[in-house]
Symmetry: none
DNA sequence: GATGAATGAGCCTTCATTCAT
DNA sequence: CATGAATGAAGGCTCATTCAT
């Protein structure tokens, strides 16, 4: 359910620890050496499982992406409920795996690898397209107001979610993400309600 | 301790070029060597003006901060207009100085220096407090709806502004920031209007 | 100590592929990993057949040497014909097995292993002694001029052959080695003819 | 007389020591670290003078090439004398600077850097063209026999010179290069004399 | 006010090799 | 016979920083 990609068990393990480290240190200080140390092996050992740091990073992104795809492409209800489901799914994922959140929600982290940045940007584009589709649907259904451009809606909704994640991450989980998520969802329902 | 302006002319110059480079390359590839090259001096020369890279980074942050302070602490009208003015001022600054935007709006960029990160976080806190104050005011004045928690309002408003900047930066200024800013402001007025 | 043939079938196979790889990549990039990949086994598997890379290299050299020995020690006609036969045999071998040529004619390739270098030097010495013997014979027989020192003759004859191989190798077989060999042999006959 | 190239004094120094090391160890074991050690500085120090190992290698080749160019392009007498002068100049250079000989006469040494290999090949081509021109001239002048193809002449003459250098290098200068050079020149005059 | 030269620490990567299974 | 996992040593390179001049 989390990875159709052909990763070996050891690769999964490494990716997991990498994610943790990424969350702990930020991408800047995430080095192969430190990862090796954390796992308790030599740097050289890592290179038997990933040909390069770039490949490792890419694997992380792809793994995340493929796990996100299912969710977003198939499992979303239409219109407003879809929007809520999108937000819920994003934030649940963050809550259950904070490492991933810090690692991936801030795309900047991967500016080390052009390929990675591209992959993330690609993913972002898809999410955007999906969300905008849902906005249009919800408008047509009369579920949300129609006096706001879709792009503006996207900026507000996606920006808010991201901001919430950022606040949560930065506070080291000092508040309940789920509670704040519900507050945010509630707010969206209110402010987007047709007049 | 907050050093409003005690910068020499040369220091200002360096900060300016540093900002450009930061915007061009991202923090990751922003190195003293490259900065020196861009300015046309030796690395050693930079150390005449800033004791360390950390200090240079701090100077950038402080400079930005002190310029933001005036604006926000004194010059803001009350309530809803203040909120709009805050957003306008932020985004105008970004538009006129894209380098700064890319350099500072994404706090991650500074995770190289704890001090820098702290300074930025400090600034962020102030902005947050100021905005939340304005939200309260606007609620009291009956200018905006009062069924949303201030922190949620903050997440939405600040998150949206940030998201807009991010989109603009990432698109390399492909769209008019001012136009989208007005759309966003208009959207805020609509969605926050008291029922 | 010179191990004529005690190679298992698998060892022969490995040596063959090693020779190919050596020719393809040059000694510098000839690694156990790449060899294993080419053969389609693990690196560890190679170590079942050769205790070390050094041993593998040595086996290549010894194999080559022992195959050369027969030819040169027994099968050579005397005097000038022997010289021609030596050259012909060398170049035929190169033509039929370019890998070997590139691998072995340039002794530098083996400066990785002192033992290898020594073995090659040893072989070189023998060839030199053999050729010089033939020169002397040919002089005595009045087949070639006697106003050139044997060492000078060797430098000219052996150097020319080597140069031809080098040109051929470097051009990736762009010209007919056999044709140029005949031209060279013809030239030798002409220039070495007694006045 | 040795370098029209714009090299700093320090760069020259480094190139010189690099040449020595190259001769001592062979290209295979020539590492930046060892070079740094030999010079008595850190590896990092080397990188202030050459941006990369590749650049250093290229500088060596170019330096050598430019010093060779003068000689060969301008200073050669015509015909047979030119041939002798070419050989003499090559071998004198080798004698006075054995490091260079071992480093450069064997082109294989540089198969680490494609650029280097190309530069050397380029140089080789020029030398070849020059020599072949001289052969033709000498034939026309009736100074040498005309029953040998120019390419065959080249193979013999250039191959012999190279072989001599190789023998000398490998013997660690056990014999007088100049004496053997004279023997070789004498041999050439004899064997190439028109019938 | 700036340069040239250097440094120590660290980064990503590759290599030959080992060993339990 | 072969694999999967690991390792120590080394290689090329970059970074922030220092210091004598």
């Amino acid at each position: 359910m989390t990875s159709p990609c052909k990763l070996t068990a050891r690769q999964r393990e490494i990716i997991d620890r990498a994610l943790e480290l990424l969350a702990e240190l930020g991408a800047r200080r995430f080095t192969m050496k430190r990862l090796a140390e954390k796992i308790g092996v030599t740097e050289a050992a890592l290179y038997r499982h990933f040909a390069s740091k770039n490949d490792l990073l890419l694997a992380i992104v792809h793994d995340f992406e493929s796990s996100a795809r299912n969710e977003l492409e198939n499992g979303l209800p239409p219109g407003l409920q879809g929007i809520a489901a999108f937000i819920t799914s994003r934030l649940d994922r963050v809550a259950e795996r904070p490492a991933l959140a810090r690692a991936l929600f801030t795309e900047e982290l991967f500016d080390e690898s052009q390929e990675c940045a591209d992959a993330l940007r690609q993913m972002f584009k898809k999410h955007r397209a999906r969300l905008i589709g849902l906005f249009q649907e919800a408008k047509t259904n009369g579920e949300i107001r129609d006096d706001l451009a879709n792009e503006t809606l996207f900026t507000i909704v996606f920006g808010s979610v991201r901001q919430l994640v950022k606040e949560w991450t930065r506070s080291n989980g000092a508040f309940s993400l789920l509670k704040r998520r519900d507050m945010l969802l509630d707010a969206f329902r209110k402010i987007l309600r047709p007049r």
